[in-house]
Symmetry: C2
Subunit: 300 residues, 2 copies
């Protein structure tokens, strides 16, 4: 396996995900330097106080001048523009470190970036939380989770290898796929389920009987992600619109079919339907419920 | 607070919920006897081996002859018929212990029971698991959870007090409400969310890109309850059909509204919508995410 060779990793934007990457690198065998740039000094200061980063600057060029690996962590809608600034600045500095990002949508980011920088590797760690901000950063966030890389035709293979090597240190497993494939997959596996959680939560909010007050484990789980950042999910909904609408329609077909079976009280068909769902969920228990952090130390 | 006076509690049907009640009573200040009857000797034997019950019998009358409190734990569709047998047998034995049940639907159970037994208190602990069977019984299952009682016009108030006193010992909090109110509330807070989880899981199952393989925390939570027992959920879907269809339609209205906002890329409206959901979820965090068992010992 390729070794991670960067001595200085620069986080462009410091939040839950980039902060968790920093903590995971610190907890690993790697012992380089972590720097950060961001639009709000408060987050950077907090990151420094918490020991997530070693130093920061409010000057993008200062941070980029010293970095071997640049990780852009920003909302999907802003990531492309920031990447454009980063590669512009690197060109002025006459430097070409590896650059990657963390955005959950790839086509929109790559389109907005509008560059063929050969050391750019689009990335997306499939991990998160309903919380946001560097204060919630967690070194174990990526353990047993998936990181998808979508290298472009012009991406240097050595750059991809370096991004892989960095994520290997976090306990994540890494997959490569095409940009469109990634976006359709994420619409189905994450974006549409968030829309479902929001719709469910709003239906409960409109119910005068206050079902949330009487909620058990079902509501706990089915509404948790409706606590996610509204601006981030607005961005995602707009930036991945086409794939998201397709995934929503697939879900709605199932709701209509199930409503029909309940309406006609078709016990045999309902039981078959539910049994298929149970088998499908159980077949993925190992992926969806990875071992607690303490049990998977050996992965690091 | 009224003290729980029963010396012998009989569990009619031994599974996850009734077994958890038994373990919670054992872990409390109460030190009476737990007996059980059930249709399958294997479950009863398992319960005895695990120390959940003190003895069992395959003769219903033998168990009922000694009980001060009878708890019927069975699928919703079967609970009414079993209650009918229980009160018939008690009449033959010329006994009138307090009787309660655990079914998540009350109107259907009460209709099927067709009796005005004065010591019957319809009950429903709002707690559960995607697992079933006495082997998964957990003494902490009800801590911080809600138990709803729906006493009928003919129910003796002393019987209701005794059922309250029993559940108090488990760390649950107890609410009383009307039968119809309970069934509409449960359709919204539990039954419809299960249908949503099943529809989501089936949509993922039909997707050739296998989104479950790439699932993060969102899919973990949004599909967990689709691992629930297919027969139990078929029962519930049919037995609470009317209230469930109403709740599904309320959810579908929201899905259609949200799809419209995404389709028109209305960022301001999406952001408002998501913010309302986040606020509603956060306002119920304390109820939905009760303290871990170890932190709430004082409740017992």
């Amino acid at each position: 396996m390729t070794q991670f060779q960067s001595r200085t990793v620069a986080l462009i934007g410091l939040g839950l995900i980039s902060g968790s990457l920093a903590l995971a690198l610190r907890a690993s065998s790697w012992n380089g330097t972590l720097t950060a740039w961001g639009p709000r000094e408060a987050s950077l200061k907090r990151g420094l106080e918490l020991g997530v980063i070693d130093h920061y600057s409010l000057e993008l060029s200062e941070v980029l001048a010293a970095a071997d690996m640049v990780v852009v962590g920003a909302p999907p809608a802003a990531t492309g523009e920031i990447l454009k600034s980063v590669v512009g600045e690197l060109s002025r500095l006459n430097r070409s470190p590896v650059v990657t990002d963390l955005a959950s949508i790839k086509a929109h980011v790559i389109d907005s970036m509008a560059s063929d920088y050969a050391n750019f590797v689009p990335g997306h760690p499939i991990a998160g939380s309903e919380h946001s901000g560097v204060a919630f950063a967690d070194s174990a966030l990526f353990r047993g989770r998936e990181v998808v890389l979508t290298p472009l035709p012009h991406t240097e293979s050595n750059a991809t290898e370096q991004v892989r090597a960095m994520w290997d240190l976090t306990g994540a497993y890494i997959r490569q796929m095409g940009v469109e494939e990634h976006d359709a997959l994420l619409a189905a596996s994450s974006h549409m389920p968030h829309i479902v959680a929001y719709a469910l939560t709003r239906a409960l909010e409109r119910n005068a009987a206050e079902p949330m007050v009487h909620g058990g484990g079902a509501l706990r789980d089915m509404t948790r992600i409706a606590g996610s950042d509204p601006l981030m999910w607005t961005d995602i909904s707009v930036a991945n619109q086409t794939a998201l609408l397709t995934a929503i329609d697939g879900f709605q077909d199932e709701m209509i079919a199930l409503r029909g079976l309940i309406s006609s009280a078709d016990a045999a068909a309902l039981s078959d339907y539910f049994a298929i769902c149970r088998a499908h969920r159980r077949a993925h228990d190992d992926i969806l419920n990875p071992l607690p952090a303490g049990d998977s130390e050996e992965k690091l």
